[in-house]
């Protein structure tokens, strides 16, 4: 479904990604784990068009999308839930969701997706008129995810959805990620919470200072001593 071939991405003189290649098949949950500053967010931004690769190619469902503007990429079916939620805090929950469907014209379909999102996140329905800046961190995460779903993506990019959430809420969010995946949405999940991420993933990649250093199934990664020590709290 998505193929990333050997991309280099720079911020000015700093090279954030160094020849990264990665593949995602339809229906999978692929997780990308790595330490702070490894380049996880940069990779997601490059897929969604917020950053441009200097070298390499990104193919989504047969078409090259590398270097395309974000608008084109959303239209093609990739939605990105950015790190730190980035909800429009000056707008209501409902308006945030509406903006998620910005490029869509099918009124009927949008209405259906509103109810789907509200079914998935009943909290958002209760607070639909509330300014999103007044939501709790967990609710904002739900809103950011709901907003991305309003575009009806086929591939959903999630950047650290569990960041700053209480353990119970982390569980809920992960359950919902699986639920979204079960309805046919492919997922690329960036996480620092490697244990949780590996528990729901089909495959995983490990990134270190801009390079993919390891990939495999969760079982394979769980057996790697290197990974255990660095990311899984060495149990």
């Amino acid at each position: 479904m998505l193929q990333i071939n050997d991309i280099n991405v720079y911020y000015g003189n700093i090279q954030a990604l160094k020849g990264v290649s990665l593949e995602i098949n339809e229906g999978e949950i692929v997780t990308l784990i790595g330490a702070n500053g490894a380049g996880k967010s940069t990779l997601l931004k490059t897929i969604s068009g917020l950053a441009k690769p200097k070298k390499g190619d990104i193919i989504f469902e047969g078409d090259s999308i590398s270097g395309k503007v974000a608008q084109t990429i959303v239209k093609k079916g990739i939605s990105h839930v950015p790190e730190g939620r980035r909800v429009f805090s000056n707008m209501s929950v409902e308006e945030n969701l509406e903006l998620g469907a910005y490029l869509r014209k099918d009124k009927q379909g949008i209405r259906e997706d509103f109810s789907k999102v509200y079914d998935l996140f009943p909290r958002l329905h209760e607070r639909r008129k509330q300014l999103s800046g007044t939501l709790s961190g967990g609710e904002q995460q739900m809103l950011a995810m709901g907003r991305a779903l309003m575009a009806r993506p086929r591939l959903l990019l999630l950047d650290e959805p569990s960041m700053g959430l209480a353990p119970l809420l982390v569980k809920t969010i992960f359950r919902i990620i699986e639920e979204i995946n079960n309805t046919g949405t492919t997922i690329l999940l960036v996480e620092q919470n490697a244990n949780m991420a590996l528990s729901i993933a089909s495959r995983a990649y490990v990134i270190e200072t801009g390079k993919i250093v390891l990939s495999g199934t969760p079982d394979e990664l769980n057996q790697s001593d290197q990974i255990k020590n660095a990311y899984l709290g060495g149990h």
């Binding site: 730190g84 429009f88 800046g133």
Partner: protein, 292 residues
């Protein structure tokens, strides 16, 4: 009674400031630029209205609409040509460019038609005094107020209910997040310039009707005062610009009415200094803390 008349004058004048201030505040809200050429767009709007009426013999409303349309296009051109290439430059570079654009518009206008003033046709609207509880109020003041209020309601409708308005709010809050929704940021910024400039154009025609004299440098002082109004209300906040404009207009009229009419223009700048000292975020501004 004199006071009440002055108050009404102040509100009319203030509504003109408010219309101009809206453009300042909308543009600042979205690209964080004080568009110092905005007062000159107001001047151009005033002249477009003037020529529509005097050469093409149009009535007030057609002239108003043409002026708004021409200014909308003019504002977008300014943005695309002068500001867009500087979007990632330092703010001071953009600010200096804005001052350059302002001078360019002023002196191109003088070059094209000379510096002499023009008398705005004043027979466009029925003029009579309306009596309210013994206070005489000119129908013109009321008319200006009505049009300004109508335009502000229209603006609120656009910003809050339409798709482009929601895109404008999204872009002004977080450009990258807006991009992720599929919003075309460049077009949204252009739309903001278009709407802000159209309001300045309307203000130009209304100003011409009210003060009857227009000239190529007429945009400077009302432009600066509208800027003060925008800061007073809280720069970047749309209702703030409306209230800031009205408050400033009323303050000026009251200063005149108290017999200090020579101090009138100074009042705006005293207000600016006071806000910057005591409440830099303006009447409606708050230090918003965001959850991360």
């Amino acid at each position: 009674m004199e006071w009440i008349q002055q108050l009404v004058n102040g509100i009319s004048l203030g509504s003109i400031y408010a219309l101009i201030a809206l453009g300042y505040t909308m543009v600042y809200g979205i690209v964080k630029l004080i568009n110092f050429a905005h007062g000159d767009v107001f001047m151009v709007g005033s002249f477009v209205g003037f020529y529509s009426i005097s050469i093409f013999h149009l009535g007030f409303f057609p002239a108003l609409l043409i002026s708004m349309a021409v200014c909308a296009i003019f504002g977008v051109l300014i943005e695309r040509i002068a500001y867009k290439p500087l979007r990632n430059a330092t703010r001071i570079a953009a600010l200096i460019t804005a001052i350059g654009v302002s001078l360019l518009i002023e002196y191109t206008t003088i070059y094209a038609r000379g510096a002499q003033p023009e008398a705005y046709p004043d027979k466009l609207l029925p003029f009579k005094n309306v009596e309210f509880f013994g206070v005489k109020i000119s129908s013109q003041s009321l008319f200006i107020l009505a049009i300004s209020i109508l335009l502000m309601i229209l603006l609120q409708f656009i910003v809050h209910k339409t798709k482009i308005g929601k895109a404008m709010r999204a872009v002004s809050h977080d450009m990258d997040a807006a991009r992720l929704m599929g919003i075309n940021v460049d077009n949204t910024i252009s739309a903001t310039f278009a709407i802000g400039s159209a309001l300045a154009g309307a203000a130009g025609v209304i100003f011409g009707m009210y003060y009857t004299k227009i000239e190529p440098l007429m945009g400077i002082i009302p432009g600066l005062k509208a800027f003060v109004a925008a800061v007073l209300g809280g720069i970047g906040i749309i209702p703030g610009a409306m209230v800031g404009g009205l408050v400033l207009g009323v303050i000026e009229s009251l200063v005149s009415a108290s017999g200090y009419s020579l101090w009138r223009d100074g009042a705006a700048f005293v207000v600016l200094i006071l806000i910057l000292i005591f409440r830099p975020s303006g009447i409606f501004g708050k230090n918003v803390r965001e959850k991360v």
